[in-house]
Symmetry: C2
Subunit: 115 residues, 2 copies
DNA sequence: CTAATATATGAACAGTTATTCATATATTGA
DNA sequence: TCAATATATGAATAACTGTTCATATATTAG
């Protein structure tokens, strides 16, 4: 039921268990990646790479209904992937910081997707 | 029903729509992020940062049943997040490449998680 | 203040997904 | 070949999540 317990792998397993982030950290990272993993939300992020936009224009860029986009924006903002500011009647959204761009570009490089 | 159509935002929206990756690319990126977004699979990735491991030791490091871990490993491998090789009776798993480490570290930096 | 515009939100339904259980496949040693 | 070990997988259920619809809130113009 067990394989070699003196092996390199066993040592790696011990180190891994000892250094495993707590559930709180795992949960936050998980939520962030989950937020950027849905196709409709990914489209929003790819759209916002071209500059900040209000909701109406995001809808224009990615398609779908205003309600659906608004729900998705909330999830992205709650997970610190995008940020928002009010400008008169509009709420203007933009990517939270350069980390977001970097992660998207890394993923595209890794998967051979053209940006 | 429309806000300023000559604004910067409108131009950004046009550019965004024009340069939006196709559904195929969006789907691949989405699947990859979805793969690394589930807590149980994230734990596997954090574990594998300490070196390649066979299934038994991954189970040891992350907890859960052998079956559940095996299902998760399949999803990670299908999405090119991890790779595997056979070594006798064991299948040894490891992170696919440095992109994976980089993405995890970016996320942790962004979210102020200690690694 | 009122109407119009822009955005957000709660509830409900539909589709997706992680886990469990039982079982199958593959490799090794005897 | 047979038994033991290591890993994978199909089906089923339970939990989660995205979208829609209806409606609410907030800002501005008049």
């Amino acid at each position: 039921m067990n394989c070699d317990h003196e092996s390199e792998h066993h040592l790696a397993a011990e180190r891994a268990a000892r250094n495993m982030p707590g559930d709180e950290a795992i949960g936050r990272v998980s939520a962030a990646f989950k937020a950027i993993s849905e196709p409709s939300r990914l489209k929003i992020l790819f759209a916002l790479r071209h500059g900040e936009m209000c909701v109406y224009h995001i809808v224009e860029a990615v398609g779908g209904t205003q309600s659906a986009v608004s729900h998705q924006l909330r999830i992205l903002r709650d997970n610190h992937v995008i940020k928002s500011r009010r400008d008169g009647q509009n709420i203007v959204y933009s990517l939270a910081d350069e980390h977001v761009v970097a992660v998207l570009e890394l993923a595209c490089t890794h998967l051979n997707c053209k940006l």
